[in-house]
């Protein structure tokens, strides 16, 4: 029994190795075909009708249907085909596409992720091919600029503004004249609005919300050209200290402490009389808390004037696309004034073109505060490789109340600096 065992085992090993290496060789061979092509501004244009792949993350059926309809309309007009895929996990599916060397041609590209993709050459810079590129709001174009080059055009945007629960407002004896204009005003009204089960201002956590105070105080997390971390500057620290003081005194609170996932939920459930959110709060309140009466006003000014944060997503076109010309043409049609207004109707986004502002405002007068923010809104930190650093400071600011600001900001600067120098 024992004798044949030994030779058989060697055969097993040899076979496994042979099989393994053969398979590995074929796998490498398959991947070897993708060598990076240098991004040129002359678009790759496939002749004849093309089949474009489009990937986007949808907020719901309304958005899915509207985007599909718009893509189909373009396909019908031009004789091409567009295969639309709704991503369930946008980051992951996009990453998979690029890793396979077969990415979607057109896709949603979030401003906070954009720099990573621009840096590694995944994005095809097509903004210079859009004739009326200047029509897009300047801060938004700035957001999608990496090392002096604008890569893509924003599909829509929103800015942060102040939502006020009008019932709570009246109950506290406040009038339209009391709408806060300064930080001092904000603290005053927040104090008046703070009652037993309700705080004055409820905020989502993280720098995407407290960042408005930083901007209003003339600060930012990195310097203009993104070479230096500036979190320890007085402007940033003072702004956070203002929020911290109000949280300690009890008139501001963060959503988790109000047993809510985000500011909108705290606002909807009446645990906060005011919150700072973008226009996405409209749909959310309509859906879950339809009976909440509220209005949206511009954020109060800080010591250094007006300031807010803008959030935007652009239409990315991949460098690896075989039909870039057609993809850019599709993007042109998707970002036209008419199309953007149609999207606004369907799923409540704000057009990214200045020429659409007037029509939009007529239709949705209650959104004036969001649109006003477009002129002075600050985009997200758009330097590559900072995700980890931002996630770190966000996790530390979850407990802003007890945080040692100096220490938090110093460690942000250290971490951000080493990431910026990479």
């Amino acid at each position: 029994m024992n004798q044949p065992r030994r030779p058989r085992r060697t055969t097993t090993l040899a076979l496994t190795l042979a099989l393994g290496s053969a398979l590995l060789a074929s796998a490498c061979g398959g991947g070897g075909g993708f060598e990076e092509e240098s991004a040129s501004s002359a678009p790759a244009s496939a002749s004849g009708p093309v089949d474009l792949k489009m990937l986007f993350g949808s907020s719901g059926d309304a958005e899915t249907d509207a985007v599909k309809a718009a893509a189909d309309a373009w396909a019908k007009k031009t004789g091409n085909k567009v295969t639309v895929t709704v991503a369930s996990d946008m980051n992951q599916q996009l990453a998979q596409g690029f890793a396979s060397g077969n990415p979607p041609d057109v896709f949603y590209m979030d401003a906070s992720q954009y720099a990573n993709y621009a840096k590694d050459g995944s994005l095809y810079p097509y903004a210079d091919q859009i004739e009326d590129n200047e029509d897009f709001y300047e801060p938004l174009r700035e957001t999608f600029t990496y090392e002096g080059k604008q890569y893509c055009v924003p599909k829509d945007f929103s800015t942060l503004a102040l939502q006020i629960n009008t019932d709570a407002w009246q109950k506290a004896g406040l009038t339209d004249a009391d709408v806060p204009k300064t930080w001092v005003d904000l603290t005053t009204v927040a104090k008046k609005l703070t009652t037993g089960g309700q705080v004055g201002l409820g905020l989502s956590t993280g720098i995407d919300r407290v960042g408005v105070f930083v901007v209003q105080n003339g600060g930012w997390w990195v310097n203009e050209d993104g070479t230096k971390a500036t979190g320890s500057n007085t402007e940033v620290r003072e702004a956070l200290a203002y929020v911290q003081k109000n949280v300690k005194e009890g008139q501001f609170a963060f959503a988790p402490d109000l047993d809510s996932g985000w500011g909108g939920e705290a606002f909807g459930t009446g645990k906060a009389a005011m919150t700072i959110e973008g226009n996405w709060i409209k749909g959310a309140l309509e859906k879950d808390y339809a009976d909440v009466k509220y209005k949206t006003v511009e954020l109060p000014e800080g010591p250094e004037g007006k300031g807010t944060l803008s959030f935007t997503v652009c239409w990315g076109v991949s460098t690896d696309s075989k039909a870039q010309a057609q993809a850019v043409d599709l993007v042109k049609s998707l970002t036209s004034v008419e199309q953007q207004l149609a999207f606004a109707d369907a799923f409540g986004v704000i057009p990214s073109r200045q020429s659409a502002a007037e029509q939009y405002q007529q239709k949705f007068p209650e959104d004036a505060a969001f649109i006003a923010g477009a002129d002075y809104g600050h985009g997200p930190i758009n330097r590559p490789g900072l995700d980890q650093v931002i996630a770190d400071i966000n996790s530390k600011l979850e407990n802003l109340k007890g945080a040692n600001l100096e220490q938090v900001l110093k460690s942000f600067d250290t971490n951000a600096q080493s990431a910026l120098e990479k």
Partner: protein, 381 residues
């Protein structure tokens, strides 16, 4: 494939001279290989090659664009591993945080779920228990429900105003807002006992840094949020392991138990000296599977907390995913996966060694010594 030919070549050439029995054995081997080829190909394609590819990626600066084997992907040596282990920085800090969290998670979950599973198995194995089938199904039920669905239910149960807190309120306890509470259990207990106050930790602990985390952070214990996840995992997996114990218990011959009874052993003695020794291999299996599964925990974090609050539910598996897909640090993500593999491998080996059957090991050692002595005698002769 050439190896196969050389292995098979000479034997077919010599086949006519061979005894017919041997040729048959060879044919059987070939047939065996043919039958196992589909599985080998599948395993190779979906297990072996991806692992090798990931190993390669962990030594490169691949950004996730195109093939990791293309010429513009550069190898960076062990840089990714260094960033996680030896270099001061955010990568190491996050990785160490995730190891700390998971350590407390494993220490909390594995013993509890093993004991609970054994207890449940003993209960439902009683012959005179009414509604045995019902209880067996009820205990096993959580294991067959998708962990994503259960996670969502737990999110609702453990909200600040959820069922759990309302129940606690009845008992006069003011429950925490579970999934947003980052305080560590050991910190909380120390605070109760008056050893320290959470808001101003003792400077001896807070100022000593070990591997990018202060001692104070190392000894935090699982956060309240992590504890809620631990409760959920214990509840879901205990059923699966109960089934394993149950199968082993039913293997236990009644005669042995009866013999113990005749010898005058009471219930506890029978459990301690008859049942548990009989279950030893199963206990080893359950603990091994438990340790491996808990170190790899991912779905609960992905669905429920995404690593928050304050990174206290970050685990190596989730961090590896996040590093690769969100931060596009594929090399670091892959390196984390291999470090986790090494850790699990080491722990499992250690545990096998500690829990090995000492009698059997002794017998085997004696047999080896004997065999060696016999061989020496043989060569001498």
């Amino acid at each position: 494939m050439s190896t196969v030919q050389t292995a098979a070549g000479p034997s077919t050439g010599r086949a006519p001279q061979r005894a017919p029995g041997k040729g048959g054995a060879q044919r059987q081997t070939t047939a065996g290989w043919i039958f196992t080829t589909p599985v080998l190909v599948l395993l190779g394609l979906f297990l072996f090659i991806p692992i090798l590819m990931a190993l390669w990626v962990s030594f490169t600066d691949w950004t996730g664009r195109g093939s990791p084997f293309s010429s513009n992907v550069e190898t960076v040596g062990t840089e990714n591993y260094q960033a996680l282990l030896t270099q001061e920085g955010l990568s190491r800090q996050d990785f160490m945080t995730s190891l700390r969290n998971t350590f407390y998670y494993v220490v909390g979950v594995v013993p509890t779920q093993t004991v609970l599973a054994l207890l449940l198995a003993v209960i439902v194995n009683q012959k005179f228990l009414k509604g045995r089938t019902f209880f067996r199904t009820a205990f096993y039920f959580p294991a067959v429900v998708s962990s994503v669905a259960i996670s969502l239910v737990f999110l609702f149960l453990f909200t600040g105003t959820g069922a759990v807190n309302q129940f606690l309120a009845v008992l006069g306890i003011d429950g925490p807002t579970w999934f947003s509470d980052a305080r560590g259990l050991i910190h909380i207990v120390g605070d109760w006992l008056g050893l320290w106050t959470i808001d101003s930790p003792p400077s001896g602990l807070a100022d000593t840094q070990v591997m990018s985390l202060s001692l104070w952070e190392w000894v935090s214990g699982p956060s309240v949020a992590m504890s809620a996840i631990m409760l959920q995992v214990i509840w879901t997996t205990a059923g699966t392991f109960m089934l394993m114990f149950l199968a082993a218990l039913q293997d236990l011959p009644t005669e042995v138990e009866e013999a113990a009874m005749v010898d005058g052993a009471n219930r506890w003695q029978r459990f301690r000296n008859v049942t548990v020794p009989h279950l030893r291999p199963t206990i080893l299996l359950v603990i091994t599977l438990g340790v491996i599964g808990t170190w790899q925990v991912f779905d609960q974090m992905y669905v429920m907390t995404q690593g928050g609050p304050s990174k206290t539910t970050l685990t190596p598996a989730y961090l590896s995913y996040d590093a690769a897909f969100t931060q596009k640090q594929w090399g670091e993500g892959a390196a984390m996966a291999f470090l986790l593999f090494a850790l699990i491998f080491a722990l499992t080996s250690l545990q096998r060694f500690v829990l090995r059957d000492k009698d059997e090991a002794a017998t085997r050692k004696a047999a080896r010594v004997q065999a060696r002595a016999a061989r020496r005698k043989g060569t001498a002769a």
